[in-house]
């Protein structure tokens, strides 16, 4: 085995407090978004005002960390100005990179040539070398966040054929669909992460406790009923319980979270540049605990020490974890 290459740890921040927590816990870079529909975590009370973003970038830079701003939703007709202004503001504030998905916005940012590094969001769902090379050649994209549907072997094959860095998810909520193309949330609520920045928006979610059972409704549809003492999932259709023929259960995917810490050496060997922690919608407590655990794991790996298993299950959806598609053992 060759010596480990240095891997970047990319950490989530939904608030300025979470950003400070991530940086202090050892993040190499933090990704975050403005408090509007330009990013795919447009939740109530979350994200950064313009002033907060400018201050957060200064704070991160003063502590040796980078800030990557997610502008990874798809502008609707007539509203492109909101996304292009966000690109301009990122350049003005000195952000290190913008994470984009929309072709028009990529074109704008590339032509604007304002010194911002362009990263391709997982929302673009670029899952093969040809697609990635197109983005790199056409817009000068330097890094691609790969969809969570690839095995380690597929990631290695892609890295051999592309002239861009790759970033992969290492921990957190697991989106089982082709991101940027999933319309499940739209079916139930009329709103989607792709266009409105929120999957299963809170405005359409209702919880009710009845006889110890927790009933979750999305857009008026009952999508789950969890018995007393059982872990509760997020109120997304993909984690809902449905009847199909004689089967009743999680049709799409069990409520479970990604934890691929054990695969850090293999992902390193596969040529991955950066590991991404999901969870901009989570608290500072989550951010600090997860970032600290993964920074320790990366430092152990870089020093040639075995990676100690961290126990982050209590923080995860379903209170259980999986290595996801990296090892294809799904049903």
């Amino acid at each position: 085995m060759t010596a480990p290459r240095s891997i970047e740890l990319i950490c989530p921040a939904g608030t300025p407090a979470a950003l400070r927590g991530a940086v202090e816990a050892g993040a190499h870079a933090v990704y975050c978004g403005f408090n509007d529909e330009t990013n795919a975590r447009n939740f109530p009370g979350l994200n950064f005002s313009r002033e907060e973003m400018a201050e957060a970038i200064k704070f991160a830079h003063n502590h040796g960390a980078k800030v990557l701003v997610a502008l990874n939703t798809f502008p609707r007709a007539g509203t492109f100005w909101r996304w292009s202004k966000a690109v301009d503001d990122c350049a003005r504030f000195g952000a290190d990179a913008v994470i984009l998905a929309d072709l028009g916005l990529l074109d704008y940012a590339a032509r604007r040539d304002c010194g911002l590094r362009l990263h391709l969001s997982v929302q673009a769902a670029a899952a093969n070398a040809d697609a990635i090379n197109f983005y790199a050649r056409t817009f000068g994209v330097k890094r691609v966040v790969l969809p969570r549907v690839l095995t380690v072997q597929e990631i290695a094959a892609i890295n051999r054929e592309i002239d861009a860095e790759t970033e992969v998810f290492i921990f957190g909520g697991l989106c089982v669909m082709a991101e940027g193309r999933c319309s499940l949330s739209s079916y139930a609520t009329g709103k989607s992460p792709n266009m409105n920045g929120a999957c299963s928006p809170a405005s359409h979610v209702e919880y009710r406790e009845a006889g110890g059972h927790l009933v979750s409704r999305l857009g008026g549809f009952a999508i789950n009923r969890v018995a007393a003492g059982q872990p509760a999932p997020y109120p997304t259709l993909c984690k809902g319980v449905f009847e199909a023929g004689d089967y009743k259960g999680h049709v799409f995917e069990d409520p479970v979270s990604l934890d691929a810490a054990a695969l850090i050496p293999q992902l390193n060997e596969a040529g991955v540049t950066a590991l991404k922690i999901e969870g901009r919608q989570r608290s500072r407590a989550y951010t600090e605990a997860v970032v600290r655990s993964f920074r320790r794991a990366l430092d152990d790996h870089a020093a040639g020490r075995p990676i100690a298993a961290g126990d982050l299950r209590a923080l995860t959806e379903g209170q259980q974890t999986t290595s996801g598609a990296y090892r294809k053992t799904w049903r």
């Binding site: 939904g14 608030t15 300025p16 407090a17 979470a18 939740f43 109530p44 009370g45 979350l46 928006p201 809170a202 405005s203 979610v205 209702e206 919880y207 009710r208 406790e209 927790l214 969890v226 007393a228 003492g229 059982q230 872990p231 509760a232 999932p233 997020y234 919608q281 989570r282 608290s283 500072r284 407590a285 989550y286 605990a289 209590a314 923080l315 995860t316 959806e317 379903g318 209170q319």
Partner: protein
């Protein structure tokens, strides 16, 4: 996650007998002080600041109605059965609710483990959770701030009282790692 401490039954029984008026008086002053000291909290709430929240510590014989109006925030202690109407209810052990304020617990994790119950307007709950998380408040320091110009004198006794109460009840009343530091 470690088991969340429950308030000892003796403490809950004492509160059951206690009159609510003094508690509501302190709570009202506390809310006004928060409004002055943490304006960003209310700004982050946006339009959800118009909602009525029922903060319901399930191991206490009472709950709190919170009306986080930026210009005049209100917090009042109420008996659960007389709580009136509300837009959103957040219920859980007192230690969990205070732990959320202090950043000791993650709200989603408490929801996954069923230690936290959310009812009503989910958007309002999320906004409140995120706004509070960003403020990095310490309730013992906030209590000391109620003494106005004597805040610096009140801080050490407040922290020591918080530490004593935490030892007796198991409910941490300061942010993790803060202890009785000033």
């Amino acid at each position: 996650m470690n088991a969340i401490p429950q308030l000892p039954p003796m403490g809950a029984a004492a509160l059951r007998l206690a009159p609510l008026a003094p508690l509501s008086f302190v709570a009202a002053r506390f809310a006004r002080s928060l409004g002055r000291r943490h304006p960003a909290l209310f700004a982050r709430l946006g339009e959800e600041a118009d909602k009525i929240f029922l903060i319901d510590p399930t191991d206490l014989p009472l709950a709190f109605r919170l009306l986080p109006r930026p210009e005049a925030p209100r917090l009042e202690a109420v008996r659960r059965e007389a709580a009136g109407s509300w837009d959103a209810r957040v219920a859980g052990p007192l230690a969990a609710l205070i732990g959320l304020v202090h950043g000791a617990y993650d709200g989603d994790a408490l929801f996954f483990s069923r230690d936290l119950v959310i009812e009503g307007d989910t958007s309002a709950v999320l906004a409140l959770r995120n706004a509070i998380d960003n403020e990095e408040m310490d309730l013992a320091h906030e209590a000391a701030a109620l003494f106005g110009p004597f805040e610096s004198l009140a801080r050490r006794p407040a922290l020591e009282l918080a530490a004593f109460a935490a030892r007796w009840t198991g409910v941490a009343l300061t942010r993790p790692g803060q202890g009785t530091r000033e």
